[in-house]
Subunit: 187 residues, 4 copies
């Protein structure tokens, strides 16, 4: 059974809402067990427990907020080099489009790569002109259908990779599991 | 007089339209002289001529299209190390929001930094939830007012920095020139 | 059996030498089948064939050389969205330390993420003050033992992840397979 | 007179040593006034005071340590949008080569761009195979001549750009001031 951790930092509540969508999406794959944790409540044990992790935060000054970074610099530091091989992905909110959420996702994935995780983005489009190639990015509060679907898709893909690669359920591979990936017909 | 080069690659015409907005914005500063060039028509002389450059392209596979990269790898290579100190910024189109335009702008700015240019983003918001902190980013064709205003603001800021720093017109500094920077009142 | 592609671009021959080390390292895992291909000889079929890919190039102007980017923009484009889930990593040469090889590896991994691959770096140190956290990076020609060991470790790790996750050989996981990871004793 | 702030975080003392080199280099330009401050002693006033800033830190988990990020997220936040146009650059230490110092410099420059600063790297080589194209990067303690020269060059270039662009001393432009830029003859 895939163990999925959704670990987030949220100030205004926007990123928490996005995190909840990620958690919902993760549950779309049978057998996925999901923990939703804010960085203030999370412990190193939560990270040790999981097979897959979705890491998310608002974009502060173009990068990871210090509160989220502190978790990885301090709480997780004793485990560095001993937890390689988890599967990771990122999500981020931002004040406006063009506000750095992609760069923040990139920074979050760099932290996960530093810990030896395998990180990914999602090729799928959840709507016309709305994708999550390097993680789910949202401006402000997620409200529209596409803004809710994007983090759900991230969570679903995380569970799909964990099922496929950690649990050996090859039928869950996104190229063969039959779930919708694009809002247009594909050959 | 500030010499501004808007250098772009465009396949579908979307990035060309964004480039035209950048050029328009650049002309908002008195005395700015603007050249708009596609990479296929541009020569090294265009880059040598300019004081400030806005570099833009679609986002292909998360980064700079090879056609734009080839210009800097091949045509500009003989001038490397001899054109330091120009002022640069970036703009990018993408297939959808979350599609990598910020990462593409970052890559374009890395190329410019490699050439010794000083690069910048724009703190301004052109509308609620629409900014260009690391360059102007657009999904698909620019149509709405905010999508047209964002690259215009980039061009204006480029001309403002060139006027302030290259031409010594300190009254053009964006903190003192009195032009609108935010869609809300500021103290 | 893990199918590993080492795909590189090389001008001076330095990156080809690094690529050969990556290929050597990949073979350290039993059953790994390795293809070494330059971008000029590689075809889309080589990428389709592989389970894991190591992608490498010199650092030109801080990023991916146009010749390597062209391969992914043009030759691979028809396969976009249909080859998700491969495991990828990067290596890069540069003119000198501080010359952008890490940024180049990051850009190469961004391209692979765009294609839906899971990408990773390596926590291991191959010597005191020599690691490959975001891919193997070398300045100039690889000559010293640590410069040869770094790309070998990258290749070995790639084969280890492919064995563990694609072939289901959990005993090949780097945390349990008993191979050396650090040049100092670990608790 | 150019006002230069060297702002650093240091745990082991290595980054402090690099910061001192940056400060030394900054003084090579006549009239430069240099403040060296750790993040724990620095105040927002120090940043407001300066024309140019060199920002440096160790590389923790591939990115900016939380202590440095906190300074920009919290202490500087009230000044966001009001201090645009300063000239900035970055330096970073790391546990080993390939350990993320370039990515850390990139992240530090992203923070500065978020504040509206113009950021740069240095085209110069300070020795064969040793450069600072995206900021000065050092593994461990700076000891060798090239490791000391690289941050000095960064500081000197910062003062040169501040002199040229903020103080209007065009004779200090690195392309014309006659100071050595490369360890080999140039045409």
């Amino acid at each position: 059974m895939g163990k999925i951790l959704v670990l987030y930092f949220s100030e205004s509540g926007n990123t928490r809402k996005v995190a909840e969508c990620v958690g919902e999406g993760a549950k779309e794959v049978d057998g996925a067990e999901v923990r939703l944790r804010s960085v203030s409540e999370a412990t190193a044990e939560d990270v040790l427990w999981c097979d897959g992790i979705a890491l998310g935060s608002p974009t502060h000054m173009g990068s990871i907020p210090w509160e989220m970074k502190q978790f990885w610099d301090v709480k997780m530091q004793p485990h560095w080099g001993k937890i390689d091989g988890k599967i990771g992905c990122a999500f981020a909110t931002q004040g406006g489009w063009g506000g750095g959420a992609e760069l923040n996702c990139q920074a979050l994935m760099t932290v996960m790569m530093n810990y030896g995780f395998l990180v990914f983005g999602v090729t799928d489009y959840v709507a016309q002109q709305f994708t999550l190639h390097y993680g789910a990015t949202i401006a402000g509060e997620p409200r529209s259908e596409r803004e809710l679907d994007s983090p759900k898709r991230l969570g679903r893909r995380l569970s799909e990779w964990v099922a496929t690669y950690i649990d050996g359920k090859k039928e869950e591979h996104p190229l063969v599991n039959g779930r919708t990936r694009f809002p247009w017909p594909r050959d």
